[in-house]
Amino acid sequence: MSLKSGFKGVFDPKISEDRPPAPVEKTPEPKEFQEREESGTWRDTGYSATDEEAHRDVKYSIKSPLHQTFAVFMVQMKLFSKMKWTYILLFTALLIPIIAFAAPDFIEIMSNFGYGGDYSTTRIAGLLFFLPLMLGLMTSIMCGTQMPSEFKERTAYMNIPMPMSRASFFFGKYLAGFVMCLGIFMFAYSMAVATALKDYDTIFPDLVTSSLLLTVVGVLAYSATAYCIGCFTKKGSSIFPFALMSFIIPLIVVIVCSQTDDYTLTLLPMFLGEAALGILGGTMSGSAGMVVLGSMDLTATWLMIVIGIAWTVGFLLLGYFQTQRREM
């Protein structure tokens, strides 16, 4: 099976094989049929239309997989536009400059606890102090309940029977969640860099780019995990994926690392937020991973990115598998 046909097989809508057999069409007698068809039709009026006017040249078919995915993506984006959480999370990012400008003394006090301020990138890392925690929280809120709410509110029973593959349904919704979270984090970054502009004109572009990349991969991995967990639950939860990714797994890893004195496990995606701050020169973060921030090997960020992408693909496939086999 070629890659193209395999891809087509995943995205093309499938008709269940155990459906009842289609009724056998009966062919009417030609002469009787013609007489019946022509009586009382437009032929009596003398009207004639070209193929184009009569839309005889239009070929009706199921939309492409990309179009189906885009339609689901936009539907989900519309739902996000009505969600109060979207605006609450945006306001959270907006707090970065508000706190920095309204409470400069707070920033000074924070410097006692390792909040760097001598360089623009360390200042940016300080302003994004809660990035690792927010990675878990925001992706859980945006992606953790997407799929369960479709079934809870019964909208899935209207969407899935449409001429649309489950793959488009699954990936379209995930893509919307990812893009939405990405938008919020990019907003947070722009706020942090803009706030740092007050004191600094220049930055380390390569470090900020690396930090951005790590954050993007972090959003990918965290949202895939939350989305996948949502596919396996009936009611959906914003708390469980958040607790799992931000506290349970990081704390286990921290304990294992401190016992073995080997910090290889910090390459896991749960530490992408810490790495995004660490690469900027941040020495502390508001998360469970702050304990290992100083011991992480940030020379292997490319490996973290590869692991993060592999983690994302793995969890998406798992979630897709569960969605495919879900009884409707």
């Binding site: 936009m74 996000f80 938008g183 722009s190 220049t202 660490g278 020379t299």
Partner: protein, 248 residues
């Protein structure tokens, strides 16, 4: 619409990737000023017979020129500290006393000579300047080396600089090399001030180094790129919230 947005996104991503290559540049300084002590200050009404430690600097509050020069020297890390007003002080003058100390919280020690002996008039700090470490920035994966040729404090005394790495003390008057696993500011320790001083106002160093980095990219450009991506995403959100023509 979708195609235009895709092209815009690709251009933005390309800009994010290419800007560092064009803009990045590493450079090393050969001299720097840092402070290893807290700078405390307080105001005090001068009394006949007041004795203040000789590592304090004091200026009449009316002498704003000298106070401004002091603040500028400490904050901007350039120039020399102005000479204090100790010779011209009279009883009743309001003076501002600056005191450098390794401790985060102390009373500025002031005593007044009376016929009965010395009377303690110590003042609690009223403002504080944090110490600023030598700002030598190293990126993760970079190898740096440093040798401090000369280190002199504001009193003109030599300062010994050293670094403790895994329990071993390295004197930085000899070349010290290290490869960093994390991005961080390289900091080092200094010996205690000699001559009964509790701290220093600043230390000037001359050094030979390689592997340290200086920021060189435009912060405004990056803020703009991030803002553009955010705006693009929220335009999609707004478009999705409109009448769903896209669903046809």
């Amino acid at each position: 619409m979708t195609r235009t947005m895709t092209i815009m996104a690709v251009i933005l991503m390309a800009a994010v990737a290419l800007v560092p290559i064009v803009a990045d540049d590493s450079d090393a300084k050969d001299s720097a000023r840092f402070c290893d002590s807290y700078i405390l200050s307080t105001t005090y009404k001068w009394i006949d017979g007041t004795v203040v430690r000789d590592d304090c600097l004091y200026y009449k509050t009316s002498n704003t020129e000298a106070i401004d020069a002091f603040e500028k020297c400490i904050k901007d890390r350039e120039g020399t500290l102005p000479e204090d007003d100790s010779r011209t002080l009279k009883a009743g003058d309001i003076v501002r006393i600056y005191y450098a100390t390794k401790d985060i919280s102390v009373n500025v020690p002031i005593s007044v000579k009376t016929p009965e002996g010395y009377e303690d008039r110590s003042q609690i700090i009223s403002s504080m300047e944090m110490p600023y470490p030598p700002g030598l920035f190293v990126k993760a994966g970079d190898t740096f080396s440093i040798r401090i040729d000369k280190a002199v404090d504001n009193y003109g005394k030599d300062v010994m600089c050293y670094v403790v790495d895994n329990g071993t003390v390295y004197d930085l008057s000899e070349t010290y090399t290290k490869t960093m696993k994390t991005t961080s500011e390289f900091t080092f320790e200094t010996d205690s001030p000699s001559g009964g001083c509790n701290g220093r106002f600043y230390v000037d160093i001359q050094y030979d180094s390689s592997g340290f980095s200086e920021p060189s990219g435009s912060a405004a450009l990056f803020a703009g790129i991030c803002a553009a991506v955010t705006i693009a995403i929220f335009c999609i959100l707004a478009y999705a919230g409109l009448k769903p023509k896209w669903s046809k």
